[in-house]
């Protein structure tokens, strides 16, 4: 133990060393943590946190990364953001491998696919990198913690409630989703179907189409939906790219005002369409808070304050205290509904 401590001090003295040294260092730090008495020693923990969103150029993830950066600054770590330009299942693998080689303290990931990046995450974990997923989870065994923006039930319910209110609780609706293998969208759609069956028997979900989180595809799929189902009363798009594209199509369509549109969107993207009456109300949580919480959770894992076990509690700066739930998930809170009255208060 003594020699280990000494070698670590020595390691600290030459912090300017190469990535290999950093790796060894973080390995030793966790070893010391297991030995106990390392709690208040956050100063020499490797507080570098790398955010890996589904893709760059997505304002939702811009906001979450900004929240993450704010948190990382508060606890005095170093922040980085990397990511692919398109959200395809395997595009994140190389970024995970690079981050592991660089020996970052923690990787905060929104997974494009629950399976495809698991091997890469396992490698990163065995190299001492803490893995936190947010927004979109992997299989539980591939990560230490999942920061859940809201429960699937809560998200599904708020969207079903919104569409039911907007179409008078009866008629045909359709769902415009992200990619066919997007974890969170699929879970929400399943919940929506259950919620519809249980509480809204007069609403019929006629089809789920996939816009692949691409403006053009989502736009064309919206057109196809409107044409295929002339009786369609409403569309739910549980993805920020999809709802903006659908709103753009609807706003210049003969169906504007006749077909309701709701789902998950960001205020900046939807402002135009809320103002011109295409969209009445839509929901989301605050992605900045989500990134902020994910970064604090990463910090708590790095310092050894928590291990990701159910019942662990940690402090998340301005958001207060959070408890780890079943399967290593941490819940942010309830979704938030934006409409013409409050959209002006938000800028993300």
């Amino acid at each position: 133990m003594f020699t280990m401590q000494r070698s670590r001090r020595f390691g600290v003295a030459i912090t300017a060393a190469a990535a290999a040294t950093v790796l060894a260092l973080s390995g030793c730090a966790s070893g010391g943590g297991d030995g106990g008495g390392d709690g208040g020693d956050g100063g020499d923990a490797n507080l570098s946190v790398t955010f890996l969103p589904k893709n760059l150029g997505n304002p939702y993830f811009d906001t979450s990364s900004a929240g993450g950066e704010e948190a990382v600054e508060e606890f005095g770590g170093t922040f980085a953001e990397v990511g692919p330009s398109e959200a395809s299942p395997t595009s994140q693998v190389s970024f995970i491998q690079t981050a592991a080689q660089q020996g970052v303290g923690a990787l905060v990931v929104s997974a494009n696919d629950p399976e495809a990046i698991c091997d890469a995450l396992d490698e990163a974990s065995s190299a001492g990198v803490k893995v936190v997923t947010f927004d979109s989870d992997t299989n539980p065994e591939c990560r230490d913690l999942f920061i859940n923006q809201a429960t699937a039930e809560g998200i599904a319910k708020v969207q079903v409630d919104l569409i039911a209110e907007q179409i008078g609780d009866e008629g045909q609706i359709a769902v415009l989703s992200a990619s066919a293998n997007a974890t969170n969208q699929n879970a929400w759609i399943e919940m929506m179907e259950e919620e519809l069956a249980a509480n809204h028997p007069d609403i019929e979900l006629v089809e789920v189409v996939y816009g692949d989180d691409d403006d053009q595809t989502s736009f064309d799929k919206t057109a196809a939906l409107l044409q295929t189902y002339p009786e369609l009363k409403g569309i739910i798009s549980p993805t920020t790219v999809g709802i903006a594209a659908a709103a753009r199509y609807l706003s210049t369509s003969e169906y504007q005002g006749q077909v309701a549109l709701t789902g998950l969107g960001t205020p900046n993207q939807m402002r135009e369409y809320v103002e011109d009456g295409t969209v009445t109300a839509f929901a989301l949580w605050n992605p900045a808070d989500l990134g902020y919480l994910a970064a604090w959770a990463a910090q708590a894992l790095i310092t050894g304050e928590i291990t990701g076990e159910e019942g662990d509690t940690f402090e998340a700066g301005k958001l207060g205290s959070y408890e780890v739930g079943a399967d290593g998930t941490v819940l942010l809170g309830d979704p938030y509904v934006f409409d013409a009255d409050n959209i002006g208060d938000f800028d993300f």
């Binding site: 150029g57 997505n58 330009s85 189409v209 044409q227 903006a244 402002r271 369409y273």
Partner: protein
Amino acid sequence: MTATAAPPAPSTPSAATRIVSHLLKARETGILIALLAVIVVATLVNPNFLFSTDGFRDLLLTPSLLMLVAVGQAVVIITRNVDLSVGSVLGLTAYLTGRLFIDVPGIPILAVFLAGIALGGVLGLINGALVAFAKVPALVITLGTLYIYRGINVAWTGSDRINASDLPAAFRGLGTGQILFIPILTIIAVVVLVVAAWVLRNLRSGREFYAIGSDPDAAHLYGLRVTRRILTAFVLSGALAGLAGVLYAARYGTVSSGAGTGLELQAIGAAVIGGVAISGGVGTLWGAAIGAYLLLTINRALPILGIQDFWQRAVVGALIIGAIVLDRVLAVRQHRKLIEAREAAR
């Protein structure tokens, strides 16, 4: 083209029958019939496909962007090259369009169009110069520039994004507006098509593209300015992708760093389906344009016919393979006919 090697016929058929027989033989006719069949079937299943305001507009509007890119692509393919970078060029110019409106308040819409076309032309010129001077296959060069241009786009766009509220309403109107029930975007695309197709069919400079594609070495030995024509083809392809980028911003209203991803394969697919031989020297721009309409109209019709999302791509793939097989069959038959004609003439 089919008539070039025809033996002297005993009796000259009348002009009318010649036109009819030419139309029947033309490769484009088959594609056009397929397109009309798709429209008819989809309309029978759901009259809204053709007869609703949105349906009619989308039928003309949706393939217009691809048609522009496919026309440029067809010219490049006819010279026995290929331009894989068009999707990335479109992405860059679409983002440039948004940035110009944000950074230069009150900029005239025409200036934005010219800037987009110019940027596309320059990017195309880079492709053409690398292909023509470095003598590296276009497939490799433009695969490289596909990633380079997209990389520049991602670096430039970063996490930014153009939202609908960033673009002037008059500009966005171009993406959906109509003159006499015909979408403005479609009018632009058809004007480009008519001019380019006329040049390629009737002018000496246009025919040289075919000569180069049929046999580059012979074209060179004959004294054709191969380098200049190849540069022209790539500049045209880039400029049309640039124009499509500006119109993309007008139509979709949002531009992220991923705009136009995968478009290059659709454009090549459209050209090939429309009868432009991937080995160069054969095909018309009309064919490529109809191919673009067929490709995207099928995409729009399949959901109406109740075919699952996942199968739609398979259908498009089958269509491309079918087109190539058809080309091959026609080529073999033509070859045999020519041999028979030669034997008969002896």
